[in-house]
Structure formats: C-alpha cells, structure tokens
Symmetry: C2
Subunit: 196 residues, 2 copies
DNA sequence: CTAGGGTGTTACCGGTCTGTAACTATGCAG
DNA sequence: CTGCATAGTTACAGACCGGTAACACCCTAG
C-alpha cells in the first residue's frame, strides 16, 4: 500500500514515478506492468501508449534516477560555491546519508545484476551514467587540489559502491558503518601526499 | 549451450551444480526450474523430490558457494602456513583475479538485489555467510599484526565488494582496475600505523 | 456544438512460471 | 526372481507475464 503514488499529474509522469519506486523496492523482474499501472492509478494501455515496452520504461526510470543524482551535484556547488574541498566532504556526508536511507542499494547496480543479457538496452545507459558519475567525482577531486585525483575518486567510488551492497546484504551495522571514517581518512591521506 | 553440466553423477548434485551455474549467469529470477532440470539432464519431478521448492534450491546454491569460498581460505593457509601477512596478500591477489574472471559480481549480493522480500529464507543465509567471511578477514588482519584490524578488514571488504559491482556496471576498465593498488596501499598504510 | 486526442475499460493472445499427479522404467538388494 | 527406492515421462493446474485489439468516455480547442 505504500506504493500508491497517485497524485493528479499526467499519466506518463505518474507511471514513471511509480515505476521508479516499485523497481527500487521490489526489483525489476519482481514488478509487472500491471502492478505498476494499478499503483499509478491508470492502466496498461496508457503505459504502452507512452512507452513502447517495459524495457524502455526501465531505461527511462534509470535516466530519471540519474537526473536526480545530477541535481545532487548542483546542490553541492550551490551550498559551497567554488569550495571544491567542502563539496567533496559534502559528497561523503551525502553518501553516508544514502547508506542509512533504505537497504536497497543502488538502482543501477541492482538493474545490472538483474538484467544479464549483454545487449540489454539498460546496460548501455547504466554504463554511460556510471561513467558520468565517475567523471564528476574525478573532476571534483582534481579541482580540490588532490594529487592523485583519479585514484582517490575511484577509491571513494568503490568504497561507496561496496558500502551500498554491504548494507543490502548484512545491514547497516556491518562494514559500511565505518564508511565516513574510511572516506575521511582517505581524503586526509591523499591531501598529505605530493602530486605525482 | 554452455549450460549443460551433464556429467554422470547423482541427479541432486547435477541439479545443484547446474543451478549454481545458471543462477550465476542469468540471475535467479531469470532462470526457471524447467531450464535448470533440462540443462542438468533430468526433469522437474526429480528436482522437487530433492528440494521442496525453488527457494530451498536457491538457499542450497548459496551455501554451496560459501563452501567453495571456505576452501579458498584453507588454500591460503596451506600455501603460506602461519604467514598471515602473506595470506592477506594472497587474498588481495585472489580478489583481483576474481574481478577479471567474469563480470557477474557476487552471487550473494546479486541474490540480495533480486530477492527483496525481507523474510525470504535466502536473506538469512546471505547475511550469515557474509558475516562469516567478514570475521575471517578480520581475524586474518589481526593475526597479521595489523593495528586496527577491523577497520582494515572492513575497508578491504567494501573495496572488493564495490569493485565487483563496478565490474558489473562499467566493466573491468573502470575504477576496479586500480583495486590491487588501493588494497596494497591500504595494507602498507595500516602496517605503518600504531595499534590503537 | 463539434471534432479529436488523450484516457479508461474489458477482454484477450501466447507464453512462461512454480508446483503436482499418475504412471512407467530402471537398477539394485535380498 | 521379487521387491523397492530412485528416476524419467507426460500431462496438467493455476497463476502471472508482456503486449494488443476494440471500444466507450471525457475534456478541451476550435
């Protein structure tokens, strides 16, 4: 019953929003199009008038997620204009917050785990969007004056990604509980090192 | 066609082995019991004589995976008897090897992503087995004389876990390519630090 | 008032899913 | 040879899946 996002907006938006929520909670293969349209207060025909297939709906959901993530980066810049180091610490705090939000991990990673066909359209956009996120973090580290910016960014990426799946498997009392300490320690360590 | 593990052994073993392989490649919800039994050279009735449901088969597959992982730890001890630090480095090498093996990530994590019902029997064993692995790595770090053994073990865990999902989403040329460097750097760093 | 696009409704298609029933074939122990 | 456990076969139940056809409805633009 927590799936009923039935505000009065255009059916396409309701479907997209509802699908995002249900895919996130129950997994992609765990939700049928009938369940989505019902929770969105509409019907299957309307869904197929706006999306040519379930696969396309999945792709649009992933893109919508990425757009929301993009807004996060703009919020960092708005909160600490020009202070890239502060923005990096804000990223750490935001990441830690997301860890404790719910135990359902990253939608992109979950989708990649479920959609195993190598040619599935979703796999392309997952790769594209993950690479964009990586590029943003690398840029942030570099602009913050970190010596080995790529290495720090990649290490933080893997830590965060790992923390998300750890929450999903053993809960938030597992290794992920130390995420902030690990991340902050890494930043300190990389700031102390000379540029290569 | 690569799914045909039809050696002549007892049907139960063939089913288990085939199911492990197919769940790993195609995901749990991506494989039906019919496909498993056919690839195992048997039939559905025989499966249901040995496993009371698909869920139980899933659980047995996860346990079998964990048993194989357990053998890995014994191999470390056999190769470097008593030399815990060498075993820790062996773990890093083994982890890196697994990253490049195939891009399908960790079966436990994938199962947790797919099986979203909080009371699903598989979730219990996933948590149990992941906690056992964590304990082993913590013990190894402590016995290797590392100061903050838990913190190093958890950091390495998250790095590895993150690297596996990274391979699954962006491939092995992404952040995970630096896994060994990150892990070795961490070990050096923790070895240099004083015990708390 | 009217025309038409967006929407809702119902029913349906062919396929797949987990799980079961009833029966047959095989192989081995006594 | 007999008896019995194990395994294979066929068919089926009941539900759900993604996707489509045909038609009725309503709201708004002209």
């Amino acid at each position: 019953m927590t799936d009923g996002v039935v505000e009065r907006s255009r059916p396409r938006d309701r479907i997209l929003e509802t699908a995002r929520d249900m895919f996130h909670k129950h997994g992609i293969k765990g939700v049928g199009v009938d369940a989505i349209t019902e929770a969105a207060g509409t019907n299957k025909m309307t869904l197929y008038r706006h999306f040519e297939s379930k696969d396309e709906l999945i792709v649009e959901c992933l893109r919508a997620n990425a757009a929301k993530a993009g807004a996060m980066w703009e919020a960092f810049e708005a909160e600490f204009p020009g202070d890239k180091l502060a923005q990096l610490h804000a990223w750490v705090r935001k990441a830690a917050f997301m860890l404790n939000a719910d135990g359902r991990g990253c939608d992109m990673a979950n989708a990649a785990a479920e959609l195993t066909e190598p040619e599935h359209p979703a796999r392309l956009v997952i790769k594209e969007l993950k690479e964009a996120q990586r590029a943003r973090l690398v840029t942030l580290c570099r602009d913050a004056g970190i010596g080995q910016a790529e290495l720090l960014a990649d290490t933080l990426s893997l830590l965060f990604e790992g923390a998300r799946v750890s929450v999903q498997t053993v809960g938030s009392e597992g290794p992920s509980a130390q995420f902030v300490r690990m991340a902050e320690g890494l930043i300190v360590s990389f700031r102390g090192a000379a540029a290569s």
